[in-house]
């Protein structure tokens, strides 16, 4: 009997010693997190939706899954933007034409590697999501004007349509650059691109009924349908299918749904000590602006082996060297690997690089050039982060838990291309 009371007393003591903070601070935290999320630009998911014609989007879905859009009919948008990898491809850098299968299998089977990590499509085409690609090479300016490699001749005034216009015309991504028949497009000159777009449209007309469907929908003659209509349908599909759903975090902020205490701590870190929301702000968790995080550079890079100048490639402004568009964080838990060159395999590590860029640095095999670049990028990073918040293991766990609350589902499943 005595023994029982002893045990009880011991148990009570242990619970008291180990008890987490009182529930009063929990509600303070909940209140603060909700108000900070609003202050930093979160809106209900539906408020980011644009009106999209569902019929056009349905045609766009078939186009998205069709390999007819690539030069040698082996690659679809869906080859790289896969459901199972959160609409990205699960690879460090994308593998373009001549690629087969998906995921790691796709690397093993060979194909044309691309310089950048595949971006997922969540929220693209939503309101205000007007800066596209890692370097923002398609952008709708304040004036409403579209800035892109098409110059003044942008094929459309919707940035996503212009972006969807690009992939089949990017070398290697969907155009097979060693195929002599298409060698002319290597120059990426606008006229060659236009000729290529015509080829795709004719092929689609011959081998599918999609052009006919587009003509019916837009009440145009089939002969008047051009690649811009195809791109607009692709854009409609993306904007509808990958529009933001009500994530658990949305439900917490707008419908008073609960978060676990780990997620709650993570959220407070995200908007507070971690300073994450200074860049990952707004409805998409991105300021759609350009910053430098000293992630390692993987692969040959857009500017030669191991070099990617990022935003500079678009502006030619030396101030923009090594800057990349802040990636949105919707479904980020599903889109490993991370960074513009896919050099970081784990979400935890992607967070660590933000405050401790040398955490995983190894001098083995690095050249003076590599180190010079790294030092330069760390310098740029330091300007954005006057005092980096060093986070503990537990705090990183909390942040990862919080990022998990930003998962949302697509409207429909995308079929894996054959």
């Amino acid at each position: 009997m005595n023994f029982g009371i002893d045990r009880l007393a011991a148990a009570v003591t242990i619970v008291l010693l180990a008890a987490p903070n009182t529930s009063a601070t929990e509600t303070l935290r909940e209140r603060m997190l909700r108000s900070y999320a609003l202050d930093f630009g979160l809106v209900p998911a539906e408020e980011t939706w644009r009106d999209v014609d569902p019929v056009l989007a349905a045609i766009g879905k078939e186009l998205f899954e069709s390999t007819l859009l690539s030069s040698n009919v082996d690659t679809a948008c869906a080859s790289c933007h896969l459901d199972r990898f959160g609409s990205a491809d699960g690879l460090p850098v994308a593998i373009g034409v001549e690629g087969r299968s998906f995921g790691a299998e796709r690397v093993r089977l060979g194909g044309d590697p691309q310089p950048r990590n595949t971006l997922p499509l969540w929220g693209r085409g939503g309101k205000g999501f007007d800066t596209l690609f890692w370097d923002g090479r398609v952008e709708k300016l304040q004036s409403g004007e579209i800035q892109s490699q098409y110059g003044a001749a942008a094929p459309d005034d919707d940035p996503l349509t212009v972006a969807a216009h690009l992939p089949p015309l990017q070398l290697g991504e969907m155009v097979f650059d060693r195929d002599s028949r298409f060698a002319q497009y290597e120059q990426e000159s606008t006229s060659a691109a236009a000729a290529y777009a015509d080829t795709i449209v004719s092929r689609l007309r011959e081998r599918s009924d999609l052009i006919a469907q587009l003509a019916t929908r837009s009440e145009q003659a089939e002969t008047d349908i051009d690649y811009t209509d195809v791109a607009a349908a692709l854009a409609s599909f993306i904007a509808r299918n990958f529009r933001l759903g009500t994530s658990r975090f949305h439900a917490f902020v707008f419908h008073a749904a609960p978060l676990t205490s780990e997620e709650l701590r993570g959220g407070v870190l995200f908007y507070g000590k971690g300073q994450c929301a200074l860049c990952h702000s707004g409805p998409y968790f991105s300021d759609l602006d350009f910053h430098t995080i000293a992630f390692p550079q993987f692969g040959f890079g857009a500017n030669g082996f191991g070099v990617d100048y990022g935003r500079y490639n678009v502006t030619q402004n030396p101030d923009d060297l090594f800057a990349f568009r802040t990636p949105p964080l919707i479904n980020v838990t599903r889109t490993a690997p991370y960074s513009h060159s896919g050099s970081v395999a784990k979400l935890r590590d992607a967070i660590v690089y933000h405050f401790d860029p040398l955490a995983f640095f190894s001098n083995d095999g690095s050249t003076a050039d590599d180190r010079e670049q790294l030092a330069r990028r760390i310098g740029l990073w330091a300007r954005d982060y006057p005092v980096a918040a060093t986070l503990s293991e537990r705090e990183i766990d909390d942040l990862v838990a919080f990022l998990g609350t930003l998962e949302t589902e697509s409207l429909e499943k995308v079929a894996d291309p054959q």
């Binding site: 008291l16 010693l17 903070n21 009182t22 601070t25 935290r29 603060m32 900070y36 202050d39 930093f40 407070v268 908007y271 507070g272 000590k273 300073q275 929301a277 200074l278 702000s281 006057p386 005092v387 918040a389 060093t390 503990s392 537990r394």
Partner: protein, 132 residues
């Protein structure tokens, strides 16, 4: 009852008394030490965290004073929320006091944190220098 028996009883009593005194005398420091070790890691983490949060806050305010902008305002707001780390630190102190850790032991924790990092003279100087 034999006197031998009595004597043993007295001896036993004295032994028990000594033991009790020793436990009472030693127990308190042992208890203090136990609580310190149990919470040392967490205490250090929260101290560092609050310290960093205060520095971040100060620098964010400097920037806002020098070049006011939307971004600078947000940085200050963010740093303010970051100060919750200091609330956690305060709460841990309170909890330790409630458990029975005395002021001396608490100060010792703080000092040992400062000294743990001061592995060379320069650091010792920085820790103890008056700044104005």
């Amino acid at each position: 009852m034999s006197s031998v028996y009595k004597r043993i009883n007295v001896l036993l009593f004295l032994c028990g008394l000594t033991l009790g005194l020793m436990i009472a005398w030693l127990g308190q420091p042992v208890f203090q030490w136990g609580v310190q070790s149990l919470f040392r890691k967490q205490f250090y983490e929260l101290t560092a965290s609050c310290d960093a949060a205060m520095r971040t806050h100060l620098i964010a305010k400097n920037r806002l004073d020098l070049e006011p902008s939307e971004t600078a305002v947000r940085a200050v707001r963010s740093a303010e929320l970051g100060l919750l780390a200091c609330q956690d630190y305060d709460l841990l102190r309170k909890r330790l006091i409630r458990i029975g850790l005395d002021e001396n032991a608490l100060s010792e924790l703080t000092l040992s944190f400062a000294e743990a990092r001061a592995s060379d003279l320069q650091l010792v100087v920085e820790t103890h220098e008056f700044r104005y």
